[in-house]
């Protein structure tokens, strides 16, 4: 393995796990200290390994050093000693001994608990996503800013406020008990769904990074599936949805980094294995009569992972979007429904449905109307594509729209 790539790779894989374990040991108020300890650990790795060579088991080296660093700060950092020790002893640990358990089981447990702490209803979902990306998945501030198309200072502010809020609220790092878990789980699922979508729909050019976001969202969802108290049908449905969506990851961007519209995708680039995994999760999602928005969206994604000729594909997709919206409104679902309406009933009727949405200033609203008006009233189509062009955030999106405008001439 390339040694220069080793530390960044380990950082991506291990940073989140180590921070999570330390933080769940110290308490949510000491997230910054946990992050500092882990960052210092990677710094020592960079120095030591450069001089003495890479140890035979780099991961256990990192864990051992992180553990020592934690114990040292405990001994030497007076604030840390007073505060953390006081809090932990108050929680009933009579003789206080700092143990840092970096076993696989404790890593998993800590990540699960941290997921619930981060996805706390007291902080906005955008902040939850940024925190999850940083603390649970170990993405750097740079990477997060790049993928979310914002500045580093924005992400830093967002993280700072979120941590402050969690500290003030005294949020406990635990999986809620059975009475509460169902309600709290919904917040976690919204965050994971958004995390996945940030990777899947991000206009960011970095395809590797976007794929990593999706994979991390799936990894965290899988933790919920593996845990008995959180393994609910809607979690399986969300996982199925992610598998079906991810199966088209390669097909929706071409080799030049341009977006390929669904209609133009090369079906051979759809990942059959992921579709099959999605089917398995979906089968397990169907029990206890639970029908969540994830079930309906997974069913829609299932139809999308099949070629157009099969069955009454668009009739079924429209029906499912209707049900999805009747369950809970979402502007994205409303726009997708209007597109499905077009596929079933044609442009004229779909234009009426789409215009009734009145989502002025929404990029997809204008590009959809541009699409629907194409061939019906090209002047209107042009106007909508131009408005969409003004709203487009990335070169890839602009390229698609410019091609559409070109096609009108």
């Amino acid at each position: 393995m390339d040694e220069r790539q080793l530390i960044p790779d380990l950082y991506r894989k291990e940073y989140g796990k180590m921070v999570t374990v330390l933080c769940s040991r110290f308490g949510i108020a000491y997230m910054d200290i946990a992050e500092d300890i882990v960052s210092d650990t990677f710094l020592s790795a960079a120095e030591t390994w450069g001089l003495k060579g890479v140890p035979s088991n780099p991961v256990s080296w990192l864990y051992a050093v992180a553990r020592n660093n934690a114990l040292n700060s405990l001994k030497h950092d007076r604030v840390f000693q007073r505060q953390v020790k006081k809090e932990l002893t108050m929680e009933g640990e009579k003789s206080f001994e700092m143990e840092i358990d970096l076993s696989p089981k404790n890593i998993t447990d800590s990540q699960l608990q941290m997921m619930f702490a981060i996805c706390h209803p007291s902080i906005p979902v955008e902040a939850q996503v940024s925190l999850a990306l940083r603390v649970l998945c170990g993405f750097s501030i740079d990477e997060i800013a790049q993928a979310l198309l914002t500045t580093k200072s924005n992400i830093n502010k967002r993280l700072f406020r979120a941590k402050e809020k969690l500290r003030l609220e005294g949020v406990k790092i635990v999986v809620p008990d059975s009475r509460e878990v169902s309600v709290r789980l919904d917040t976690v699922l919204v965050c994971l769904y958004l995390l996945f979508n940030e990777g899947y729909y991000s206009a960011s050019q970095d395809k590797v990074l976007r794929r990593d976001f999706c994979l991390e969202a799936m990894r965290l969802t899988y933790l919920l599936i593996e845990n008995a108290s959180t393994s609910m049908p809607r979690v399986h449905a969300l996982m199925a949805l992610m598998c079906f969506q991810a199966s088209r990851f390669d097909a929706r961007v071409n080799d030049n980094g341009e977006l390929v519209l669904y209609e133009d995708q090369d079906i051979r680039r759809w990942d059959e294995e992921l579709i099959q995994r999605g089917n398995d999760f979906f089968i397990r999602a169907i029990r206890d009569g639970d029908v969540s928005k994830y079930h309906l969206e997974a069913a829609i994604a299932w139809w999308h992972s099949h070629p157009a000729e099969e069955g009454e594909k668009w009739e079924n997709i429209l029906r499912l979007y209707n049900q999805r919206l009747i369950l809970e409104y979402s502007p994205v679902a409303a726009l997708n429904r209007a597109y499905a309406f077009y596929r079933v009933y044609g442009r004229e009727q779909a234009i009426a449905e789409a215009e009734a949405l009145q989502l002025y200033g929404n990029l997809f609203y204008h590009s959809l109307l541009g699409e629907l008006y194409t061939g019906v009233d090209n002047e209107q189509a042009g106007r909508h594509f131009m408005q969409a062009l003004d709203l487009a955030g990335s070169d890839a999106e602009r390229a698609v729209l410019e091609k559409k405008l070109e096609g009108l001439k």
Partner: protein, 121 residues
């Protein structure tokens, strides 16, 4: 934004005729309903998807322990469901009701404002 109940009223005779529709017609009706409610929901105007109300196992209870089968039979119409929508005015709620599929099957839609708990007018 105000809330209005759209109450579906069915004529007894039309309902009797509904018993012998074909599965294909049934499917078509379901599609109409699904699209109509979907289009209200797509505009974020659906407040509650309400309920359908059944005929079988329904009774009417009158004073003096008088219990009769079925919905109130003295009138020829009965209620077979409702939804609740959000609208700026009753006129806007009426516009939504005009697309309701029950109108094609001999039924009517009654549009009624929900009364806020502090409104005793």
């Amino acid at each position: 934004m105000k809330e209005f109940a759209l109450i579906f009223r069915m004529n007894g005779d039309a309902a009797a005729g509904a018993a012998d529709i074909t599965p294909a017609q049934m499917q078509e009706r379901m599609t109409y309903w699904n699209n109509w409610m979907g289009s209200i929901a797509a505009r974020d105007r659906l407040s509650s998807s309400g309920h359908r109300l059944g005929i079988r196992e329904s009774k009417t209870v009158a004073p003096g322990d008088v219990v009769t089968d079925g919905p109130y039979t003295e009138v020829k119409e009965f209620i077979n469901g409702f939804i609740i929508v959000k609208a700026q005015s009753v006129d806007e709620a009426v516009e939504m009701a005009k697309g309701c599929p029950i109108l094609f099957g001999g039924g009517k839609v009654e549009v009624r404002p929900l009364v806020a708990s502090d409104d005793n007018k």
